[in-house]
Assembly symmetry: C2
Homo-oligomer: 436 residues x 2
């Protein structure tokens, strides 16, 4: 066995198995490794808050379950020796001091809120994984040069509210929106211990953070299908959404001959197919989705006169989104002409693509390789707090496989081995960023 093979075998063993602390200390490089079994147990304990009878959790932001989950995470932070504070945006920060007072903090973390009917890994892995990294550093008595901040962002699933508050990008009008918890954003922030009247105090400015690294489950099936251990995220895709209104002529379904119809639903059906055809007709990883549709008046015996549907396009490249949209729009024009209907597009969401930092990406890839883990570079199709942080700090994301690509559902699963791998890559990345 050559030196490289030996190192790989050793690293794989370390990554996959929860070793007693003493054993870890006896490894060839004495490199610190997380306690995978403990992390797994913490994930199981967190899953009690908001647990659903059918599995998974509904730990919707600002709900009582959310507050309980955050209280549990806060306990873990304190147990890891972190000094905990809640900012005005209700983000929880836990600090481990560094040896060099001149250094800005390294920031790691994620979120613990879930979608309604969500699973036990989205956000939780990155939050408890970051705490596990801090705990491991404490146990191994590793002192970093940088301060290390572990963060749990508030209300990620509702629209990145915590991280946007920290960037000063939360608009006053948004505070009055009603969240899925039933509370307004304002009341929800207060409910979690924040102060919606003093959001300016939560502000993190460009340059305040040395680097931000978020560990997360992929939520897609690319790593799982490819049997790849670690995804190095090249960026968070841009998301554009439109509300599309198709107008035809509502009429009696019994008395209007087929060749006399201006059926808005038939035109909409052709549009749904066209979106799929256009998006699949270009090489690349772009996606396009029609997820919502309503036909009016919506009776079985009336030809629909109006259909309203959603169009969503995502890609890492904003120019490509523009090209796709232009082609979809052209297809709609053709359908409209052929069917005697009209299409109107109203933009509703525009999140610009957020590339990650090339240097942080390289460090993550090196860290994974040092642990003997296979990697691939891929975009994040989902939105994350990291897309906000990418605007003010060098940012990276570490993905671990989601079994079957299932997410936002009770069956969401990432295997304990992969969770431990991810946390170890995060730990190794922090060590390397600290040393750089």
């Amino acid at each position: 066995m050559d030196r490289r093979a030996f190192a790989q075998t050793l690293a794989a063993t370390l990554a996959g198995v929860a070793l007693p602390r003493r054993a870890a200390r006896l490894t060839a490089f004495s490199a610190p490794r997380v306690n995978g079994a403990r992390l797994d147990a913490h994930l199981a304990e967190l899953s009690a808050f908001g647990r659903n009878p059918e599995g998974g959790v509904s730990r919707v932001a600002y709900s009582e379950a959310d507050r309980q989950g955050r209280a549990y995470a806060t306990e873990l932070m304190r147990a890891a020796g972190l000094e905990v504070r809640v900012d005005a945006g209700a983000n929880i920060f836990g600090r481990r001091a560094g040896s060099d007072p001149s250094r800005r903090p390294l920031l790691i973390g994620s979120h613990t809120d879930s979608v309604p009917g969500g699973g036990n890994y989205d956000g939780d892995v990155g939050s408890l994984g970051a705490i596990e990294v801090a705990q491991t550093l404490a146990e191994q008595r590793v002192t970093l040069r940088h301060p290390l901040d572990v963060v749990i962002w508030s209300n990620e699933e509702g629209g990145l509210f915590g991280s946007r508050a920290a960037l000063g990008e939360l608009r006053a009008a948004e505070l009055d929106l009603v969240s899925n918890s039933g509370r307004t954003i304002r009341d929800g922030i207060r409910f979690l211990g924040g102060n919606p009247d003093d959001l300016a105090s939560a502000r993190i400015a460009r340059g305040d953070v040395a680097a931000y690294v978020e560990l997360h489950i992929e939520q897609g099936g690319t790593l799982d299908r490819g049997h790849v251990d670690i995804g190095v995220v090249e960026g968070i895709v841009g998301i554009n959404q439109w509300e599309v209104t198709v107008d035809g002529v509502a009429n009696h379904a019994g008395t209007t001959p087929m060749d006399q119809r201006h059926d808005a639903l038939l035109a909409a059906a052709r549009f749904v197919e066209a979106v799929n055809r256009v998006v699949r007709g270009m090489p690349g990883r772009q996606v396009g989705t029609v997820g919502r549709i309503a036909a009016f008046p919506g009776a079985p015996n009336v030809i629909p006169g109006r259909v309203v549907l959603s169009l969503e396009l995502r890609d890492l490249d904003a120019a490509k989104i523009r090209t796709l949209y232009a082609r979809v729009h052209d297809a709609a024009d053709t359908i409209a002409r052929d069917s005697g209907t009209t299409f109107a597009f109203r933009p509703t969401v525009e999140n610009v693509p957020a590339p990650t930092d090339p240097r942080v990406r390289a460090v993550i890839a090196e860290a994974a390789r040092a642990l003997g883990l296979s990697t691939m570079t891929l975009p994040s199709g989902a939105g994350h707090d990291a897309q906000d942080l990418a605007r003010i700090a060098p940012t990276g994301m570490i993905f671990i496989p989601s079994v079957g690509g299932i997410s936002h559902a009770p069956r969401e699963l990432s295997r304990p081995k992969d969770v431990a791998n991810g946390a170890n890559v995060l730990l190794e990345t922090v060590l390397r960023l600290d040393a750089a």
Copy 2:
């Protein structure tokens, strides 16, 4: 000008213009003709009940506006010398006695309730047209051999409730359904003066009626486009409806690559197109419609995992409906295979086709020709009380043009000339049926 041309010109004049009674008496044949101007005025007066600001009426069955409209029609009946009664099913009957006590009654009429946001002609023309026929007979002192019953069926638009009650086909469970008025069918029948606890007393049995003839607007554009005066209805089409459920896999719209999706809405869109293709792929007047659609969970950023939609097929020939359904089902099987989804069909409505009586059809056509009016034979794509009556009595329907084929909408319109033509054909048909 030859004799035929002269007769045609004369008849057209009589049909189109409201003649003073004296002038009508002086015509070549002294045949009685309705007073078109009066009928037009009555339609305008009826339109006041349930009138909508944007035009048309919402005279939904069992509403206060419906009760007022029926009270107005009852006054007209009494003014026409009819003896009025309301049966247990809340149908209004007005009788003009005949000279031969052994004869069963000729029955003519329609309904005065409307759909929500309906127009001023659907049902109204046939109801007030039948009363106008009775009034004309009274004024002209014409005594028929048969008794003549003018009927206004209750709650036609909600599902032929009045005529089905009269046939003894209303199921007890249906009385508890909530109608568009907010009242249950039971309370609605009582509200209109019927007795839901004694529906048996309303029963009309096979053989009780000599013939039933209903005048109605076409509600489609066939007569209007063809510049044809009168439609001789060959039957009321059968209507089959199904609820179709398409199951795929709901998943994250950002993280699920295009080639890994089981998008229920994409499959449903292909199905909507297939229904159109199958129905248009056979010669004939059959129609097929998807009027209702819902996608779940129905968020712009989630691939739909389930779509529920309606399928409706209509034709005069039940065997053709079965063939169309088989082809649509085959198409769904192919779509399901190609997209990794499943389709399930649940029948919800089955109204069998109701052919009209060939002898009554011939009499209507002869009556129209005697009045110099052009005719064509066509199916009724819409349901009517006549489809119930066709099961127990020789039944016919007279259609007049709907401008632009628009119906169940404020812009519904039949021209006064056509309304008068229709009422005169109804009158002439009654005279000929009485003489036969």
